[in-house]
Subunit: 299 residues, 2 copies
DNA sequence: TGAAGGTCATAGCTCTGGACTATGAGTTCA
DNA sequence: TGAACTCATAGTCCAGAGCTATGACCTTCA
């Protein structure tokens, strides 16, 4: 569902955040490299679009109104998400040219790398990072071919000439919307899960394969799907607004769980964990930026 | 720090998300009520701004490229945050006119209510909600004066004529950036925390008071601050980019913890929990929309 | 095979809206 | 009292995004 057509633009929210931070329209204008009257009119326009007054203007500066404070918090969340896109994209765009060349699988690239890179680039402004998103085998191939310095993958490797270290853990979790009956049950059995139609990814997805295998190994046959969707975020949305459970990467729903949009359900006997690993060629000493990045991950 | 000046606008990201969802530019254009060539040029412009090709166009439709898939995920996170602002603001704007009138404290209004309301309004499109953001005493006063049907507060109440139910729990957590030494220590003592300069809110903030009290009660004197900031999000940012710990509401940093931008540190003997409660006047039967909302929270 | 119904891109026109400069009014402070 | 801030208004200008019309390409089906 598209946003309302009169929803303010990112540039306006960004400017507003700066006004709150600096305490004046003029200072925010300077920070954004625009003229003060432009800032003034942009904020006025923002208030018109949102339909509320955000600022108390005075000859000594501008302070957010009570409503403005709440809006500033929400705007901050949007801008943070935008900052991640920017950080991630910078690396994606750098392609082969970065000083630190990373190859990573989808899940890691989407949910973890933008943060890691953002932090890394703040600490090491002189470095540049390039990112390639591929599946695990392609990541390993890229390392062997010398096209990447550091790889991030989701499965254990079996390659003697590579070193590895675990940098994070992912787990498949069973989640439902907060109104679902399972939120009031202490623990679901694997048989119950297997008997319940789920929202699922299409066939061939790694997540789906792992779940099917776990249920089959436990002797409960095949899980059935009530809906099959082509992307993780489509599955998320369907579960939030619908009434069917799904089994999904915890990374993909971490913020939904934190915010209460989704609730995790414990399933007895279902424990699908995977370590997320950094890998690199043992024969080459780890380049300095790569070692710095690993260190900043606490690895 | 402002976003890059050529950062794409929300409208463009929103349109792109629709293209990925519908599989064609024309269909997305229809969903947004614009002409197909406008969508075409907007997406082309988006690709120019981001500097990457997002779509594989063909006479049968458009599919995201590998890069496009990753970008779609990031864009989705931005749009979700924008949706929350929209949901929250709709209620704020409704002021006194909503059928369900809510009064809530800042923390709940900022971090929880947009979700709750978004879900509630999806399930009950015929209802309207108005929201007032105030401190706890004002919330109770609003209920007594009949200006609100349902209140949300962070402290226990002591008013016999009110009913209440716990809808969520907040906890003050000690957090540091992932590079901080404490991430490698099993457990910090309260004395250590008290002896370490912290990033803090200004004096008078509820969070700060609770912490000071806990440390004083344990006989460790007064905590010191290395930096005092006026808003929760400013504290968050300072801890993420800096090297000092803070003690902060878990709700405010839930996504940072999930994404690894911040790490929680356990402090022996520091356990500051508060139940977040819905409250209402016992004398009035809870209006139907209010009861619906509480039910959708699982309360 | 050819017409119908999809896809997307290009061309050319229109006009809105945001940016700028210049100015003025209000407040604080030395 | 004047300098140095604050913000708002007025007037001008032009880039950019929207629209319609059209054409090329592909698939489907009678």
């Amino acid at each position: 569902m598209p946003l309302s057509p009169s929803f303010p633009e990112l540039a306006a929210l960004d400017l507003y955040a700066s006004v709150v931070e600096h305490g004046s329209l003029g200072a925010a204008a300077r920070a954004h490299g625009i003229a003060q009257p432009s800032a003034s009119s942009r904020i006025k326009n923002l208030e018109r679009q949102l339909g509320v007054q955000l600022l108390e203007r005075s000859p000594t500066g501008s302070k957010p109104t009570p409503v403005g404070i709440v809006v500033a918090g929400w705007a901050d969340a949007i801008l943070r998400a935008a900052g991640e896109l920017e950080a991630g994209l910078t690396a994606l765009k750098a392609e082969e040219q970065g000083r630190l060349r990373i190859a990573a699988s989808y899940t890691i690239a989407e949910y973890l790398l933008p943060n890691w890179l953002g932090r890394f680039l703040t600490d090491h402004p002189e470095d540049t990072v390039s990112l390639d998103v591929e599946n695990s085998t392609a990541v390993l191939r890229g390392l062997e071919a010398g096209e990447a310095d550091l790889g991030f993958i989701e499965s254990p490797i079996d390659v003697p000439e590579m070193d590895e270290t675990v940098v994070a853990t992912d787990r498949l979790v069973t989640v439902v919307s907060p109104t679902h009956g399972w939120t009031r049950t202490p623990k679901i059995t694997l048989a119950e899960l297997a008997a319940t139609p789920l929202v699922m990814r299409e066939e061939g997805s790694g997540t789906r394969d792992a779940l099917v295998e776990a249920i089959r190994d436990a002797g409960h046959g095949e899980p059935t799907s009530v809906l099959e969707l082509g992307s993780t975020s489509a599955v998320r949305s369907a579960v939030i607004t619908g009434n069917a459970p799904t089994v999904i990467s915890r990374l993909a729903v971490a913020d939904d769980l934190a915010a209460g949009r989704l609730v995790e359900v414990e399933v007895a006997g279902l424990e699908i964990e995977r370590d997320l690993r950094a890998v690199w060629l043992r024969s080459h000493p780890l380049p300095r930026p790569a070692a710095d990045l690993l260190r900043s991950l606490g690895a």
